[in-house]
Amino acid sequence: MTPTDLTKVQRNLSALVEFSRIVNSSLNLEFTLNNLLLSCFGKFLVTRGIVVLNDKGNSKIYSSKGLSPEIVESFPQVKYINEDIIIDSKLSEYLKLNKLIFFQKICSSRDCLGFIALGEKINKTDYSEEETEFLKTILNIAATAIENSIFIQELKLVNRNLDSRINRLNSLFELSKEFGIINQEVRIGKLLLYSLLGHFMISNYSIVLFENKELILLESTITHEKINSVLSLYDISKISQPINSVNMKKEFPLLSGFGFELIVPMSLQNVTKGIILLGKRINNIDYTEDDIEFVSSVGSLAIVSFENKKLFKEALEKQKLEEELEIAKTIQQKLLPSKLPELKNFEIAALSVSSKQVGGDYYDVIKLNEKDYVVAIGDVSGKGVPASLLMANLQAFLKSICKQGLTIDSATGVINDLVTENTSDGRFITFFWGILDDEFKSFKYVNAGHNPPLLIRNNKIQRLEKGGIILGVMKTFTPYLQEEIFLQSGDLIVLFTDGITEAKNLEDEDFSDERFESFLLSLSDENSTEIIKKIGNEISDYTLGQMQSDDITLIVIKVN
């Protein structure tokens, strides 16, 4: 070995050591490749070169020097470069064209990573064998550094993806917490929107809810009219899966026209309750599967929250309504007499069973003077609060009319006029009332369309039907008729509402007038209280297990 050779070797060695030190300390791919090219340029005195690496089955230029961007751009599509590199014709043409004459693959101990291609040397000499060996050595060192840098790069990417996932999970967690607390729908919409805006950097969006077939625009950059005009053309409640921009162009071209690129349904138990429409992301990145999944999760959280708020509101309203009904029922109960007066010649007993709802049955026994007593029974059509209000009215009319000293027939006319004036929604009252004379044992009555009370005398039934039309339908035109009956000892008068005769058994059959009448005949020897008790038992036996759908009212008058 001559001294010049020795210096050369020494120089080569120190260059290699220097290169190794630098690239291995950086772990930055760009830096490593840049250094590789620079080292080659310095060693071989070249001015152009490229480093091509495999990237997921494709090869591309990772670093270049001395080449115009156009040349770098025009690098041909080359498949994976393996150990036994076979340069395809396009690649060799490219290298030739760009005067990249010296070519060497870059392989680590495990894998072939790519290749380096260098231009001709400035002194136009060929690459010597020794130079080739040097390049091979330097590439060996570089290969390890490249592998490491790629690994680090991938690790960074994985870390970033992980960060991104953690961030999404955090958002979901935070939103689910927040959605649980807030109780304004507007607020939920805003939070949903901000989360989406923050995540995807969108400037075009629309969040639409469906409620009772109507579209509610929660948040939108597009006016209600515009979006409504388009959405109404489609059955969007049928959207059960997210729709990406490609399918949107096919299925919903008009929505694409607004700049939307993604539709994500918000569904609850497989029912689509709303949709989220998102426009292009400002960074021009398409929505990935993960993104769509995230929008879908956020949307579901929001819709659950909306639904909960709605149910809560409904439950509150229902509770309030039930409370009101309960109050109405209590008031109504108080309108009925708590204690019946005791008469000399008559024994009066009454039964009143109200159904679950507030009903419109009414009865009363009012003392007029020392010998006269009014007995009244009525049934207001319909149920609920309106019926009970009308019943309360009737009671008030009756109490005041009793003090006017009118005859019972003309008094009925006045009551009818009053009721007619006070009903507007087609409600009416079937009403029966009479005056018991405790001195002369007589009963003077008017029947205004009520199911006729029964007079039972000597096992025969007589119906008390004299009167006129039901109350509340029209002003009194034809005067009501009255009838006076002189009673005998043992006579029985039974006043009732249709809740008795229409009480239903399990087979949905009425208790019926016939059954009621024959049952009454069998009881005619009993006293009033006993009769009431037995009828009550009979009805509850008959309707066993059936929900009572109507009020039941019954008054029994026994003549002593």
């Binding site: 935070e174 939103l175 927040e178 805003k190 901000y194 923050g198 995540h199 400002i282 960074n283």
Partner: protein, 116 residues
């Protein structure tokens, strides 16, 4: 519950909004109303100082997105400054550097407005 507050300062026609504490789904409405107020007052040159912000979630980021178009269409901007690394990381993760200018000091951000 997490704490969050904002303080507004003026420097010429630039408004500086200082963010303090934790900005998440729960506190985002506060920032929202602060921005609304600035816009109502036609203060469109805004520097958001994150020095005292300890945490931000994507809902917080969304507030910045919600107002940026209005502000820019009025020749204004929101410039972001002095973030701690964990806060910046979220902005970076969600791609905000593409759309917003970040500065390491409040002064740089104000100067940038004044140069324009």
């Amino acid at each position: 519950m997490s704490d969050f507050s904002t303080t507004i300062r003026e420097a010429g026609d630039v408004s500086i909004i200082e963010l303090n504490g934790y900005l998440d789904a729960h506190t985002a409405p506060q920032l929202e109303s602060a921005f609304s107020d600035l816009i109502d007052k036609k203060r469109f040159k805004i520097v958001a100082n994150f020095e005292k912000l300890k945490y931000i979630s994507s809902a917080g980021l969304g507030v910045f997105m919600a107002f940026i178009e209005t502000i820019r269409s009025n020749n204004g901007d929101i410039k972001l400054t002095t973030m701690i690394p964990s806060v910046y990381n979220i902005f970076d993760l969600l791609g905000f550097p593409l759309l917003y200018e970040f500065f390491s000091t409040e002064k740089e951000a104000i100067d940038k407005f004044n140069q324009q």
